[in-house]
């Protein structure tokens, strides 16, 4: 399986229409500088030597579980789940990293969610390993993973109510 085929599967599974309009800014370049996928393809091949990733997919928040299933079907392993706080745009980004244990392909799946109500379905049903990564992301960003079995703080103290990786977190 190559990155191309995978990109093909992504575009069949997730027609571009369902992608959230807010994931790209007005001028067509997303805020993190990634050139967005062509309208018909949510997934785009990237050069590994330049980016450390073979394929990037930008999806709507509702599609991440389906993407995880797709990854699972193709024998990918969960690498990490993490967040990014885009304060200026009022958005949070959740990045799901996958790697393939046999052929070494790297896939990053991204989804943007509104910052005021950061909610995204959990993929821990598909990849139990995502459980801890999502808990950690919840710790750091306050992103709620709906359907997650246990979102108690993992790395932060049990009674932590703050989310230190939010850009407006001052340390108090």
């Amino acid at each position: 399986m190559s990155a191309e085929e995978l990109a093909e599967r992504f575009s069949r599974l997730f027609p571009r229409a369902s992608a959230p309009p807010e994931s790209t800014s007005a001028d067509g370049v997303s805020a993190d500088g990634v050139v967005p996928a062509e309208p018909s393809r949510p997934a785009q091949e990237t050069e590994h030597a330049a980016r450390g990733c073979h394929l990037e997919a930008t999806l709507a928040s509702g599609e991440v579980v389906a993407a995880a299933r797709l990854m699972d079907e193709h024998g990918f392993a969960i690498d990490a789940v993490t967040g990014v706080d885009w304060l200026a745009e009022g958005q949070m980004e959740v990045i799901y990293d996958y790697f393939h244990p046999v052929n070494g392909l790297r896939v990053a799946v991204r989804a943007r969610i509104p910052r005021e109500n950061p909610e995204i379905p959990t993929v821990s049903e598909v990849f139990p390993g995502a459980n801890w990564h999502e808990r950690e992301t919840h710790d750091f960003f306050g992103i709620r993973f709906t359907g997650h079995p246990d979102l108690t703080p993992l790395l932060l103290p049990e009674d932590a109510v703050y989310h230190p990786l939010r850009k407006d977190f001052s340390g108090e």
Partner: protein, 387 residues
Amino acid sequence: MRFITLCVRTLAVSESNFISAAEHAGETFVLNLGPQHPATHGVLRVKLTMDGEYITRAEPVPGYIHRMHEKMGENRNYAQFLPNTSRIDYLSAMHYTHAFVGVVERAAKLEVPPRAEYIRVITSELNRISSHLVWFGAFLLDLGGFTPLLYAFDDREKILDLLEGITGSRLTYCYYRFGGVCNDIDDEFIRGTRAFLEEMRPRLKLYRELVTDNIILRKRLIDIGPISAELCRKYGATGPVIRGAGVPYDVRRSEPYSVYPELDFVVPTHAEGDCMARYLVRMEEMGQSLRIIEQALDRLPEGPVLGKAPKTVKLPPGDYCYAVEAARGRFMVRVISDGKEIPYRVKLRAPSFSNLSLFEEASQGMMLPDALAVMGSLDLVIPDIDR
């Protein structure tokens, strides 16, 4: 005052390892393994629900030495964050620094002179051996064998002396720089490393005879704690854990970096997936690392060791990843830059974190000493989990 005493007593009964009345009546009890326990090698707590000596549920509770390295990364420029990277997993500091300088070099498109790349490989592999030696000793300590620890530390000492000679420190090296390494290696180091290669091979044989072939050890490791390739995949376990399940996944091969593609080495795998498989993978990796070092020393080119790098590094806006094969598995740094001299976001993907996350599933129904053997065979470094 009486109230405080009462609180303390209630706490002592519910949280400590005293048996409470409720537990007397019930069939299971909760055993707090850690945060201070000889087998957790640091401040990891595992909440064990036990039925007699059988574990019905093992819930790791990490986070006791969480230092929020990722936030620190957002508060200082790239060069200033560099010393932090060797403190995430203090046993494989070189690999972690490698990943961070790697991501910056990838994003800023910096050239690294070939000599520097070879030096990086040599020091990385030395570091891998020293890390595996610590694991070897500590693992045997978990299993109740004391002496191999001292032998392993004797060998490790030689590596630390070598690395101290060129980097100036023994554990948190911070030796790599954007575009190369900070000091060139000298003849003394090369001679010392070659001598070490000669000394280490008979030592590996000694470990095989003393430990690997030992019937007590074999009984304790064979068929204990099987972790399947599927389980590794679902939890993202990497390094010797997935290789011990028969999958030859090694970042040095799957996402080649540095000069590893030019070097000839085998990725050791064992299909059994039990503690013995993980043990053997690590032992064989030490031999492979010796091979890599030998080849790299033979091919070591002349030239500069530090390429051109801007005084203050600024990365073009974007999202960059760089993964390396650390001693415990896949370590990845993700840097998101907004073009400023301070990164917008640094994500550290630590191998021990994923490796530990499967412990709950892998230790089901196991006896306590077996579960500790499994935990030891995962080779956990707690600061790596907590970051």
